[in-house]
Symmetry: C2
Subunit: 179 residues, 2 copies
């Protein structure tokens, strides 16, 4: 299971609570890893009982208590072992494409509307990713080093979103042409 390991990757970088982890997933891995807070809390339970992480309660003034988790040595070993295994190919289940595939059942406007809705959110995502890229590129060479590997994943996100948008324009055009 990769969610467990994705959590370990984040905790290896820096300890954090379930809430923190959810935000970090959204902010830094949102374009290649998605996990709900419920899932994260459930996995943290499992990681705790397996001894791969430890947790400590921290009180805060004015805010609810947080349970801050740290990776253990055994967790780090588990993570390194996992990294050495070859990855399974990415599984894609794309609802929009199923609809396009069977799109003869509806007006093309129905398909175009769905395409456009996604286009809007992809454009916003692209803007965010490009801003992150600029932030990285603006760093001095000596400062870049710790962000190199995350930068590679960012580049993947940019390729993905740009490819999607280019395709969507082509597809919208063709759908409109065919009436």
């Amino acid at each position: 299971m990769a969610l467990k390991h994705a959590i370990l990757v984040l905790l290896e970088q820096q300890p954090g609570s379930g809430y923190d982890l959810h935000k970090r997933f959204q902010q830094h891995m949102g374009f290649f890893w998605q996990a709900s807070h419920q899932q994260i809390y459930q996995q943290l339970k499992g990681l705790l009982t397996d001894g791969l992480i430890v947790g400590q309660d921290k009180q805060q003034q004015g805010k609810p208590d947080r349970k801050v988790y740290h990776i253990t040595d055994s967790g780090k070993q588990e993570l390194i072992g996992w990294m050495h295994q070859l990855s399974k190919p990415l599984k894609i289940n794309d609802t929009l494409l199923v609809k396009l595939y069977g799109g003869h059942l509806v007006d093309s406007e129905v398909l175009l509307r769905d395409l456009q809705q996604q286009q809007d959110s992809y454009r916003k995502t692209l803007a965010v990713l490009q801003q992150l890229e600029q932030q990285y590129q603006a760093l001095a060479e000596s400062q870049k080093q710790p962000y190199r590997l995350p930068y590679l994943t960012l580049r993947r996100g940019i390729y993905h979103v740009q490819g999607w948008l280019a395709w969507a324009e082509e597809a919208s055009q063709l759908l409109s042409d065919w009436q």
Copy 2:
């Protein structure tokens, strides 16, 4: 649930058995929809009890019996209703990128090996997709019409795979440069 609807899309085009459907998923939708035969058999059961499909046993000489399913009117209505709903954004959970993100824990060779493994399979996929595209383009305009919408999904597959390969080259290069 989209698997149910993906099955309905295939059955609306042409009746078929669970085994057929599995093959059709692999051959025509493999780059945007993946489903195991176990999943398909389970979903067919549910579709049957919901009255969205009907099945009939067909004997074959020398081979096991097949249960051939047909979409019902109610199934077609369900499908059309589903098509009118806006799609949820594609969920991507990419293990390889999680490994890259936390890749400081291992030698870059470990990461490169994983990248190359996937590169090999993406290259093969690209060849298949491009061949399908040529088959479509070779058709006379009058013959293309029924394949137009599937062609749009094929284009998406090509964009995706080409984008992945371009990124992988860039990423491999950078990983090697950084030692």
